[in-house]
Symmetry: D2
Subunit: 292 residues, 4 copies
């Protein structure tokens, strides 16, 4: 496998860990890191000598590097290397600015089955189509710009800007549906594992046994995440305006109501609940008092 990632970034790690995991006998060639092409000038000179065409207007150095795929555009380097600098307005490609976004919001409905989005506004699409669709409409409404300082696996901090309108809409909608379909302690378990899962993927461990184990747990947790979320896009905001799950909701309005619940919940149970949870706190408190 040959790749053009530098020796400073996350991409080399992600490419190579994945390659080694899939084929332990693979040989990796990473010229940017292994050879003496350490600067952009040397690289361009080498390409010219060998007759390799480069899609890059010589003479004009762009103010940052850029990568794009279905899910996002990322920007790094150049002006962005100083985290006290704001990115230039012209940089962004997938999203309008807040000022350019329409005054009128757009409402969408997104349907999920087992945690995966399957339909937008009642019409079924392939996963890639859903992302394309949400990227487009989200971008129009200035949704999905991110700007932060991250911690690369190889040990340095770096500043990156990202655009991911579809991803932003999906993560918020998905959580809204989880909020009525996942049990409290399932949510707690997912919350506790989420940063670890995210770090695994960020660091290049998609094809690792530990990622697969957490995935099993997550996939199992999603079996009940079925239903429809209504969402409003407006001036950079993704606003949940409704969640509904006919067959999978465990939200029980008859229990939670402050009105007459017809005995579904016995308020006096709360006394014992609280008293037994307080037992150890009372004991701790007595010790603190007696030691002073």
């Amino acid at each position: 496998m040959a790749h053009g990632a530098t020796g400073k970034g996350n991409d080399q790690v992600r490419f190579e860990l994945s390659a080694y995991a899939i084929d332990p006998k693979i040989k990796v060639i990473a010229p940017w890191r292994d050879w003496d092409l350490l600067s952009r000038e040397k690289l361009l000179k080498y390409a010219k000598e060998k007759g390799i065409p480069v899609d890059f207007k010589s003479g004009k150095k762009p103010p940052y590097s850029m990568d794009a795929n279905l899910l996002h555009v990322s920007y790094e380097g150049g002006l962005l290397e100083d985290p006290s600098n704001q990115p230039q307005d012209e940089m962004w490609r997938m999203t309008r600015s807040i000022n350019e976004a329409p005054e009128k919001p757009t409402n969408l409905s997104i349907e999920f089955s087992k945690g995966d989005p399957i339909a937008v506004n009642g019409k079924r699409y392939k996963p890639s189509q859903i992302i394309e669709k949400l990227n487009k409409i989200g971008g129009t409404h200035a949704v999905g710009r991110l700007d932060f300082v991250e911690n690369r696996f190889i040990g340095m901090k770096s500043r990156g800007c990202y655009e991911t309108p579809g991803g932003t809409i999906l993560i918020k909608s998905h959580r809204a549906l989880e909020s009525i379909t996942l049990d409290r302690e399932v949510v707690a378990l997912k919350d506790d594992l989420m940063p670890r899962y995210a770090r695994l993927i960020y660091n290049g461990y998609w094809f690792s046994p530990e990622r697969l184990l957490i995935q099993k747990l997550i996939d199992e947790s999603q079996l009940h995440v079925n239903g429809v979320v209504k969402v409003r896009l407006h001036k950079g905001n993704v606003i949940i305006i409704g969640r509904e799950s006919k067959k999978s909701s465990i939200f029980d309005h008859q229990i939670s109501t402050f009105e007459d619940d017809k005995g579904k919940y016995k308020q006096s149970d709360a006394e014992g609940f609280i008293k037994l949870h307080a037992l150890r706190l009372m004991k701790n408190s007595k010790r603190l008092r007696s030691n002073h």
Copy 2:
């Protein structure tokens, strides 16, 4: 201690766990839960009989209950009990709607010392003043509306809407400053403990020994969180436009640059780094192959 919380909510738990933790001999009186005042009508009748004034226009039932303090307003009950209903525009008190928010953004600078906000736009304020100030300006820009389904400690799901403009600005600014002042693994540790810490507080365990232990760790982590964050408020969005920490930043632009780094980072080190991290993945991969 007497309180007016119902037997269905989180407040009773928070009040009573705190009271028992502070004074194990305290006696709790919770009429709403212990007596037979289970409905609003009965309560009003009782108050009238006893000559207790109630700040509540009889005859007109509000469509939800409301609580407010320095940090937030919360709304629950009534219309909101169905999570597929959108809250009415008239409900919100601290924040303008996106449409009413000004076209022109406001830029702020917030200074932090040891993780605590101490100044806005270069002027020092008391903590409560900072929150008041940010509530006001954030609210004007439609910042800080939240709407979600939560999981009460006593076992039921409930839907709540919240307004917390100042809190929203502070959490985003604080994280932005942490991104240049906290070590990667310190961030990872904080990320992993954060949901647990939040659950402790949500469930009423502020005065518990386990909250105090995590607090020690968090407080220690904040010693280097010093610096200034520039933030833009615009149409419901909080946008970080700069982070700076003269004495505490560990962001090193000379290492992360894609330009000539003058030997501060040796790209070839990455090869060994990746190969040793791949070692176990390769071994796993060989086992999978030999077993098929």
Copy 3:
């Protein structure tokens, strides 16, 4: 469901949470807790009046309570209520004392398939037979006595003594086999979730969705835990004397050897590995120095 557990212990919680989880409509009758039979004397009097036979010699109060099943015997109460008291030698039922155990050790081999024990000394048995067998031989060798102070879910500490010879042998053997068949990060993930999983079961949440999710992860992790462990029982000790897994081991003696490894591992890779892991520590160190 009627049960005879007291209102102070874990059993009532385990019985009732399980019952409610299996059948939400079940009605629980717990006389010891609900009625006025709060002391042993009252209970015996009630039983006598109603003609209920009690397997309990009146007039002679045993110095502790006892429960037994296939996996263990537990002892609580009476003399044991003071954690500074040692249990009496006569108390223990499944295990000999160290002095009574034979001078000569016994060696066993235990075979596991997908993490479950399936054979002892090369002969296959049903799970219950394996535990019976190991209880017997372990007990003879004084293996499996436990004595500790635990934290009941209902909020108090209590002291318990346990005998579980088979369980003790199995947990040690199983971990020995995992040590050559589980990937390092799989072990780390299991280690991190283990205390939580144990608390869930201790607290009565066997039939909870969160236990089932963790179980999915654990079950998946066990697919490669196949092989044979040789174990020596001697004077209370369980000593691992060999682990072997023909098809599932990822222990690679050719890599780990301090002898000539024929190039399977390139020692110079370690330099880059360490340097990049040190990068953030160096940066932290510089900050500490410059701030003093």
Copy 4:
């Protein structure tokens, strides 16, 4: 800094991460890894040429490598490289075998202050003296042999045998004292962080900011770990025979008793406690039923 660790082990990582953390400008010289001294023969030849004396009888290769310090002896390599081989009896240096250990047990008392051992049998000693003392008496009683397969940070599994009699006695005694002095949720928090803390130290991150943060939490947790533990050493076993803490115990025998508790605990509180904990399980159960 020059060190003689190989390029395959944990020691190089621990030495160098610590050195870089303490002095980012340090230069590391690791001949075994960097030069061409990859085999023992080459190393001996080099030493002979340069007139460097080697404490190692040439001609007789020991069957494993060995390291020793105050806390332990470790054995690796040679015969031990195959995890199905049992170590030879002659290998062990700090501990007698079970057969050689005395028939008569020895009872000890160990006093802890803020989690640290300060006295043995009522006599105060320096920390190093306590370990020496416990190593000696523990070793006599065959306590402290360990034999397992571990996961090196640089990516391979390796088999190691260890002797740490004093460490074994201290860890068991310390936990016994914690069991009556630490709150349940403090124990849970410590249990959950313990594997991570252990990995940090194993991997060489003693001088890391994340280790220091967890240390703060642990140190704070130990303020109440004061008292005396009585322990019996017998034929390889460390048996807790008593725990006592005059001023710091939160074990409350008057609450946990199965006898008359004089109203310190209201058994009927347990009903509400269980019912509210069952609420979400009942809801989950109903969903499962209605979906089948």
